[in-house]
């Protein structure tokens, strides 16, 4: 009896300890595979210097070479095709550009932050138009990123100094200003890159609020993705955003040097990586995904755009 009682007593202790150990086991980070294909640029800074954003279409890769105050266009193999602009204030010149977008006609939209304007070029790099980014009070706005809704003929711009999402029409008049400086829903603390979802909603990276906010075309907040922290599904310095064909959110983090994937409903799914480890995308800023499920990451301090295949990720 005594032995039995001792056995039971030890069994209880074992149960408690095993329960604790089970509870304390670190949950593995879900990894989705990514395969590195090649890099454009590198540490010598000769080709690219501090690339801040990247856009893609069927045939080309468009990179904001912000350290050189220009845009460089490559073919899909990473061979240089075109250089647009240099440092300056004239049309066709840039001062500290950040974000970029390209439309179905191959027209290139660049957020020329230092010159307070969006510059539009044709696919040959010819300057078409400059849209001065000003608010309704005619105060100048420093644009961080730009994306175009061709069907609605709207241009969405994130404003660095007014913490707003600005909407311009094609002649360049400001139509709407959403948000402002704040932490509540619908407000921003340094809105960064933005992208258009398949259903025309607009997703904006809210950098210091460490989230992505998704708005309807009416300006209503429909979804928040990510939250503050360093756990999987949390964000510390979100910078880039891209949407794949399935509508999943890919969000880069420039301090944690990784890209996380969220469902179209905003639920965390995985971290891009190899085997069981997240891949490092050093100082990852703007990102883009093309129809071939290739991921393009602007790694600023690496002075390169890294190209990866995420096609295994179904």
């Amino acid at each position: 009896m005594i032995k039995l009682s001792i056995l039971l007593r030890y069994s209880f202790v074992f149960f408690c300890i095993s329960s604790y150990v089970f509870a304390a086991e670190t949950a593995p980070i879900p990894i989705h595979p990514v395969k590195h294909l090649f890099d454009i640029g590198g540490p010598k800074k000769t080709l690219l210097s501090l690339p801040s954003d990247v856009a893609v279409d069927k045939h080309r890769i468009y990179v904001v070479d912000s350290g050189h105050h220009r845009v460089v266009v490559f073919d899909k193999d990473g061979d240089q095709e075109l250089i647009i602009g240099k440092e300056g204030i004239r049309n066709g010149q840039f001062r500290g550009p950040v974000g970029i977008d390209v439309d179905s006609q191959g027209r290139i939209y660049v957020a020329d932050k230092g010159n307070h304007r969006i510059q539009v070029f044709d696919k040959k790099g010819k300057h078409l138009v400059s849209i001065v980014t000003a608010d309704k009070n005619k105060s100048l706005v420093s644009p961080v990123d730009v994306t175009v809704d061709e069907s609605s003929e709207l241009i969405y711009v994130t404003g660095n100094n007014n913490h707003k999402l600005m909407i311009y029409n094609f002649p360049g008049y400001v139509l709407e200003e959403w948000g402002g400086d704040g932490v509540d829903e619908g407000f921003f603390r340094y809105p960064g890159t933005l992208t258009l979802l398949h259903d025309k909603r607009i997703a904006v990276v809210d950098i210091l609020n460490t989230r992505v906010q998704v708005f309807t075309t009416k300006g209503k907040l429909s979804l928040q993705v990510g939250e503050w922290g360093v756990l999987p599904g949390q964000l510390f310095r979100p910078k880039g955003i891209a949407i794949d064909k399935q509508g999943r959110f890919y969000i880069s983090d420039s301090y944690m040097n990784l890209v996380q994937v969220f469902t179209d409903g905003g639920r965390f799914q995985a971290v891009l990586g190899k085997r069981d480890k997240p891949s490092s995308f050093k100082t990852a800023a703007g990102i883009a995904i093309d129809d071939d499920m290739k991921l393009y990451v602007a790694e600023m301090l690496e002075h390169k755009v890294s190209v990866h295949s995420i096609s295994e990720y179904k």
Binding site: E25, L258, V271, T283
Partner: protein, 758 residues
């Protein structure tokens, strides 16, 4: 219970909280890192070892860049171009003194004692106000105040061998702004004008490359002309190095002579100096000496003086603007030239002349940028049109006249070669302007930087004058003659004083000096009262007491002579002033008294008839020279024919004792009755002459007063030296008869043996 204790907190606030705001940079403070059951996306590593050493994660480059990448704040320039930045990951050098605040370093080092980002930057504790740009520095960096807090050895300006800071420039160059250069308030030059702590393109965190002195020239653009001069060491002395061992090709044409920090004294000098009393000249002399790099152009004796206060030339300088008390005679625009203080620094008020006053070492020829074919630069010999002069000399010696405005009157005199000796052959320097005819600014052949070989003479001044005023010389028609006013005479020894300039034997002005030619003559001005007088501007113009390069007009009152010979002023109202008695009479130079002056009527300073008295009239024939001077008028055909004493001589074989000798023997107060040798020199024992009893310059011994008109004298006047006959020299021989003989000296009866003496 155990489960409760170990259940992790997963609260993620949407509202700002102190915890969250802090962890924006202090990421390792997040609770998630303490939760054992959660896998964080990055490992817990609060003090990682990064490139700068072991330090807090919040101040790593990665953390800073995560916001300063253009998406939140924009400091991309710090990373985009420059590969140079303020050193990090290094221990401070000995020269760096980090101040302490409450016992802690104001600018902390990392765990390894090395400089890191957090040394200067912190998100905490600095109230920047609204007007300042917050860059999270540990203290405000107004006008580079932060930089200077540690780099004190780089401050203090040129006095401490450093480039000036906090000095405003009117037009900060745009080229510097383009490369990220910063100027302080009011366009002040600050540390960040030349250096960029981040994003610099060049070594020493310079904003632009300076191995061709491009940075220096950004502001000192006017100095670029040095490239085409002999002062460009790359051309003239390519192997020459500065004190850091750098040649011009390595460090640029500026830095081989100047360095912005650790310089040797004035002009931020980077080469050897020769220390002199004139600190501003020391850099120049470092090369321009007989052993220096410019040994073919040494500065030797008889060169233009430096450390001369400009006010001595009658020029006042305020805020860099010059104002001369002498009005220019020819329309010239006086240019403000650099002046220096004792330390060799340029000053805006007052200041002294130094090498840099006349020379701009960066410009070979003023007003010309492209000068000569570079291949000939090193061989080119200078002249008054170039030679690094700040003003070309031209025909009118414009550079000299810029300071020596008062000397412009020379143009209107025979001392101007174009007037006085234009027919004489020019020497090679005669083309460098009027002044260069007589002066060489450097290495003259004698005093006054004389450009000609010295003549003969006692003093340096006389030797300069006799270079031309000599037999066979340029001015051989204007010689001083055998009998001329003595020079080399010390006024002090004569017990007299004067306000005329006196000179040492070396030709320097000195209050205890001697009388020399230039005591009476100002060689640069013909008429002392009229600087622009043209009367002397002719080859054949003849001078008189009004002109003749005299320092003071010497006419009615003989103002020049009486400046020294003050006791003789008493002649003015006596009959011996020929302006009173014989206005139309002329001396041997043909000058009436109103032209020759009172003294000049009888005395001639140069070309005199006698050495005694420098007589300007024809002496009467007499063995006793003294008497002959008096008799030149006091004879039956002379001007004073009505005052001819029938008997005037004393037996010449009888020598009398001078009053000095008699006093020595008898120790009595005796009347002054000088006695003379036959040649007219005052002696202790000599002949009794006219001037033994008479002082021709003084009407009466009792007072300075004189009638000022022709009048008859008495025993108390009549130019007698003494108003009493007591103890007169006559008594030495004539005893009691002396009074009678003295009183009736010119009477026939006095010559007879007197009854009392029998």
């Amino acid at each position: 219970m155990i489960f409760i204790l170990i259940t992790p907190s997963t609260v993620h606030a949407r509202t700002p909280s102190a915890n969250r705001e802090c962890s924006t940079c202090h990421i390792m403070w997040l609770n998630e890192f303490k939760q054992k059951d959660k896998a964080t996306l990055i490992p817990y590593d609060p003090r990682p070892v990064v490139a700068t050493g072991k330090q807090d994660v919040s101040s790593t480059e990665m953390m800073c860049f995560s916001c300063h990448d253009g998406f939140v704040l924009d400091s991309r320039f710090m990373w985009q171009k420059g590969k140079y930045r303020h050193p990090v990951g290094q221990k401070p050098t000995d020269g760096i003194k980090i101040p302490l605040v409450d016992g802690k370093q104001m600018f902390p080092l990392n765990d390894e004692g090395k400089v890191y980002c957090g040394t200067c930057h912190s998100a905490h504790g600095v109230d920047w106000g609204q007007s300042e740009s917050a860059v999270f520095l540990r203290m405000k960096n107004v006008n580079s105040s932060l930089c200077m807090t540690c780099h004190k050895e780089r401050t203090g300006g040129p006095k401490h061998g450093n480039h000036p800071v906090n000095k405003s420039i009117s037009h900060p160059p745009k080229t510097l702004f383009k490369v990220g250069s910063k100027f302080g308030s009011d366009g002040r030059v600050v540390c960040e004008t030349c250096h960029r702590p981040h994003g610099a393109n060049e070594d020493k965190i310079l904003v632009i490359k300076n191995n061709e002195s491009d940075l220096c020239r950004s502001c000192h653009d006017d100095k670029k002309t040095i490239n085409q001069t002999k002062h460009n060491m790359a051309l003239s002395n390519p192997r020459a190095t500065n004190f850091k061992g750098k040649t011009a090709s390595e460090t640029g044409p500026c830095s081989v002579c100047h360095v912005p920090h650790d310089a040797k004294g004035a002009a931020l000098w980077a080469r050897e100096r020769i220390e002199t009393e004139d600190a501003a000249a020391s850099p120049c002399l470092g090369c321009h000496n007989e052993k220096g790099l410019a040994k073919d152009k040494p500065i030797k004796q008889h060169s233009h003086p430096t450390q001369v206060a400009i006010k001595e030339l009658g020029i006042s300088v305020t805020e860099g603007k010059w104002m001369s008390k002498h009005s220019p005679l020819i329309d010239i625009k006086q240019k403000a030239l650099p002046l220096y203080n004792q330390s060799g620094q340029r000053v805006k008020h007052g200041g002294n002349v130094s090498c840099g006053t006349c020379h701009d070492p960066h410009v070979w020829a003023p007003g010309k940028t492209a000068l000569v074919d570079q291949s000939t630069i090193t061989d080119q010999e200078g002249n008054g049109q170039n030679s690094f002069l700040r003003i070309t000399q031209g025909k009118g010696s414009d550079l000299c006249i810029n300071c020596h405005v008062d000397k412009q009157s020379l143009f209107f005199s025979k001392h101007n070669r174009e007037i006085g000796f234009r027919n004489k052959p020019k020497d090679e320097r005669g083309h460098d302007g009027i002044c260069a005819e007589c002066h060489m600014a450097h290495n003259g052949k004698g005093a006054f930087m004389h450009a000609k070989a010295d003549g003969e003479g006692k003093g340096a001044v006389e030797r300069v004058c006799t270079a031309c005023h000599k037999q066979g010389g340029i001015a051989d028609k204007k010689l001083t003659g055998t009998h001329s006013h003595p020079i080399g005479v010390s006024m002090t020894k004569l017990g007299n004083s004067t306000n005329l300039p006196l000179f040492t034997a070396e030709g320097k002005r000195h209050p205890d000096g001697n009388v020399d030619c230039a005591s009476c003559h100002n060689v640069h001005q013909w008429d002392p009262k009229n600087r622009k007088a043209m009367s002397g501007a002719k080859l054949k113009s003849e001078g008189n007491g009004k002109t003749s390069f005299l320092r003071v007009r010497n006419t009615k009152k003989s103002e020049l002579c009486t400046t020294c010979h003050q006791q003789q002023k008493t002649i003015l109202k006596t009959e011996h002033n020929l302006n009173i008695t014989h206005q139309k009479s002329t001396n041997l130079l043909g000058q009436a008294p109103h032209r020759s002056g009172v003294c000049g009527a009888c005395h001639s300073v140069h070309q005199a008839q006698t050495s005694i008295g420098l007589w300007a009239r024809k002496p009467f024939k007499d063995n006793q020279i003294k008497n002959s001077l008096c008799l030149s008028c006091h004879n039956k055909a002379g001007l004073a024919s009505n005052k001819v004493p029938p008997y005037f001589t004393h037996p010449e074989q009888v020598l009398a004792l001078s009053e000095r000798l008699r006093r020595f023997i008898g120790s009595k107060i005796l009347p002054y009755i000088p006695v003379f040798s036959e040649q007219g020199h005052s002696e202790s024992m000599g002949e009794i002459t006219c001037t033994s009893c008479h002082d021709p310059h003084r009407w009466t011994a009792r007072s300075k007063m004189a009638p000022g008109k022709n009048t008859e004298g008495t025993v108390l006047t009549s130019f007698l030296r003494n108003s009493s006959s007591e103890n007169i020299v006559c008594a030495d021989c004539h005893g009691k008869d002396a009074l009678f003989r003295y009183k009736y000296f010119h009477s026939k009866t006095s010559r007879k043996r007197h009854p009392l003496s029998e």
